[in-house]
């Protein structure tokens, strides 16, 4: 019983943060699957969603501000793709990645300018921020909502990709960019859709993540963003279930490392894991293997 009492809070925190990473990781993995681009700006879209919530909730009731956050974040994701990535469609992959880094730099500096560089207190969302007691440990209700909501959203997404027309188009584009274009798939619509879905999930992720952490700063996106990316690589980039499982594993491991008193290394662990995975199994757990052609 002592054992449970000691480690249960960490396990719960791990599952919860894992779910939040999963929601971000899907955005990375989908974009990578289609554009072969590490969307460095994704973490900052997540951060901006946090700030939008801070400002929206100050001037309107919560049931209006939540949909507003989601809508604005989706619009932001869409605009970023149209402005910063679309003109570079035929450019080398490195230029697109540099453009993504540029967008990330821009979003962070803009956030810094708007907020004056101060940490903002995240509003408490009623019901999901309430404290509950579970098997003797107190935690916020969001801890339990996150994994459930994550899995629900992932199931919907997987079904969407499997059965709808746009989903089939997405899979076709990620298999072969040029051939699918020849087959009459509107590439730009598919890519925009990918960014819209990714940003939507990032917005939901930010609602859950910041309910747990209470403050937003302009650079807060970097760490969860990088970890979500590691999760995506770990699960096999391009694979949605892989990203989700990877995210849960990373979230739980990280919290157990904290439990062992090695907080400094919880971040370092993630990257060590990344390097090990890339070397041992570069395609991740569920990734497809690719061969290089001359």
């Amino acid at each position: 019983m002592d054992f449970i009492a000691k480690y249960l809070p960490y396990l719960l925190a791990g599952i919860s943060v894992g779910g939040q990473y999963a929601l971000i990781a899907i955005g990375y993995t989908m974009v990578y699957g289609i554009l072969r681009l590490i969307n460095f700006a994704h973490a900052d879209i997540f951060m901006v969603a946090g700030f939008i919530m801070v400002y929206a909730s100050a001037s309107m009731p919560i049931y209006l501000s939540i949909p507003l956050v989601i809508v604005l974040t989706v619009v932001l994701g869409f605009v970023v793709e149209r402005v910063a990535y679309k003109p570079l469609r035929s450019a080398p992959r490195m230029s697109v990645m540099i453009s993504a880094i540029g967008v990330s730099y821009l979003l962070q500096n803009t956030a810094w300018y708007v907020t004056g560089g101060l940490a903002k207190v995240y509003p408490t969302i009623p019901w999901i921020s309430d404290t509950v007691t579970f098997m003797g440990c107190t935690t916020k209700r969001v801890t339990f909502i996150t994994p459930v909501l994550t899995i629900l959203l992932v199931v919907i997404l997987v079904l969407l990709i499997k059965y709808t027309k746009i989903g089939i188009a997405m899979r076709a584009v990620s298999k072969d960019f040029e051939t699918s274009q020849l087959m009459g798939i509107k590439i730009n619509t598919v890519i925009s859709m990918t960014f819209i879905i990714g940003s939507f999930l990032a917005a939901v992720g930010s609602l859950l993540y910041f309910s747990n952490y209470a403050t937003v700063t302009p650079t807060i996106g970097a760490m969860p963003g990088l970890k979500a990316f590691v999760a995506a690589v770990f699960g096999g980039i391009g694979s949605i279930p892989g990203a989700v499982i990877g995210a849960f594993i990373i979230g739980i491991c990280e919290n157990f490392i904290k439990a062992a008193g090695l907080t400094t290394f919880s971040d370092a662990f993630t990257f060590a894991l990344l390097i090990v995975v890339l070397i041992v199994k570069p395609n991740g757990i569920f990734g497809e293997s690719t061969s290089e052609k001359v």
Partner: protein, 352 residues
């Protein structure tokens, strides 16, 4: 133009730059210009070292901040005078290192330490390609940062506290001299057979391999050399800032250096140098006015307040990235021949 006259002009230009750096120190010792010149020189070195890797060898690495951190820490740790160690390592009973190294030796050691780490990390990481390499090196930089702040190494790295009171350079010419020597070495390397091999790898790995270039060995070499100079750059940055703390070496620093390389032109040494001075001048000096509230008569210009400078600056960067993808120099180098040609073309155009 004859080769000898050209060389004389190049040497004269170089001497002129050194003379100017000397004069600046005398005329305006605490001005913004000195700051820009010093920091610009440091960033120029780091940018060129990154360009060697990203622009000339085609390895997309984002570990530069990590190597700079290693260099900066190595320099700081070994050059703090023994007399003040007690006060710097206040929380760790004076640390465990009880000697002081010569500045130049410490700088070289900074490079060597970074290079050794690069060699070790390169063994597994260089097997990866393009974006995976980028992420793995980024991860490495984060691990180094976490380790440098760890309490367990406190006696060496001073944990998450500042390292300070180490000797610094007091005139701009010294910065320029060190940076110029390092960049000259990189430039010579790029013009050697090794440099040609690097470029061959960048243009087509498989063709390069078919021509008998040992891919793994050359990539390793480029990675290690780049880290060596990034380490020296880190040491210089420590000297410039007079204090060192691991928290400053975040991935944002690597991104800034990458953006400098892009602005200057990927694959151009002179481009990187120009780019870094421009970047530092804009971010530290020329755009400063955007941070201050401004009045025209009684009308206050809107939007101007702290932080606006960086917003404008990042918009400019985005414009460069999107519309001037080749940067200032493209993959060309600064040369008198090209300038002469430009003038001749103009002269011809006038005649018509």
């Amino acid at each position: 133009m004859k080769k000898t006259t050209k060389n004389i002009i190049y040497i004269a230009l170089l001497l002129l730059i050194f003379a100017l750096s000397y004069v600046v120190d005398i005329i305006a010792p605490y001005s913004m210009l000195v700051t820009v010149l010093r920091k610009g020189a440091v960033y120029a070195l780091v940018a060129v070292s990154m360009n060697l890797l990203n622009g000339f060898t085609g390895l997309f690495s984002l570990g530069q901040a990590g190597f700079m951190l290693l260099g900066a820490y190595t320099y700081a740790i070994f050059t703090i005078p023994t007399a003040v160690r007690e006060s710097v390592y206040y929380y760790y009973e004076g640390g465990i290192i009880n000697f002081q190294m010569n500045m130049i030796l410490a700088m070289l050691l900074a490079g060597v330490v970074a290079a050794i780490f690069a060699y070790l990390i390169g063994l597994p990481v260089l097997k990866l390609k393009s974006d995976y390499l980028a992420i793995a090196t980024l991860g490495f930089a984060e691990i180094v940062r976490a380790l440098a702040q760890w309490d367990g190494f406190g006696k060496i790295t001073n944990g998450s506290n500042l390292l300070k009171k180490f000797p610094v350079l007091d005139n701009t010419t010294q910065y320029f001299l060190i940076v110029a020597i390092c960049i000259a070495v990189i430039a010579m390397l790029i013009h050697s057979t090794y440099g040609r091999a690097f470029k061959a790898i960048r243009d087509d790995e498989i063709a390069a391999q078919a021509m008998g270039i040992n891919l793994a060995r050359h990539e390793q070499l480029s990675f290690v050399i780049s880290a060596f100079f990034a380490g020296i750059g880190g040491a210089l940055l420590a000297i410039f800032q007079t204090t060192v703390q691991a928290n400053a070496f975040k991935s944002a620093m690597t991104y800034e250096i990458l953006l400098i390389v892009v602005i200057g032109g990927i694959g151009s040494i002179t481009g990187s140098i120009l780019g870094s001075f421009l970047f530092i001048a804009c971010s530290e000096w020329w755009l400063r006015f955007l941070d201050e509230p401004m009045f025209i008569g009684t009308f206050q210009v809107p939007l101007l307040r702290t932080g606006f400078r960086m917003v404008v600056f990042s918009v400019i960067i985005m414009i460069v990235v999107l519309f001037f993808r080749r940067g200032i120099m493209g993959d060309k180098e600064f040369s008198l021949d090209r300038i002469a040609k430009l003038f001749r073309k103009k002269a011809k155009g006038d005649k018509k």
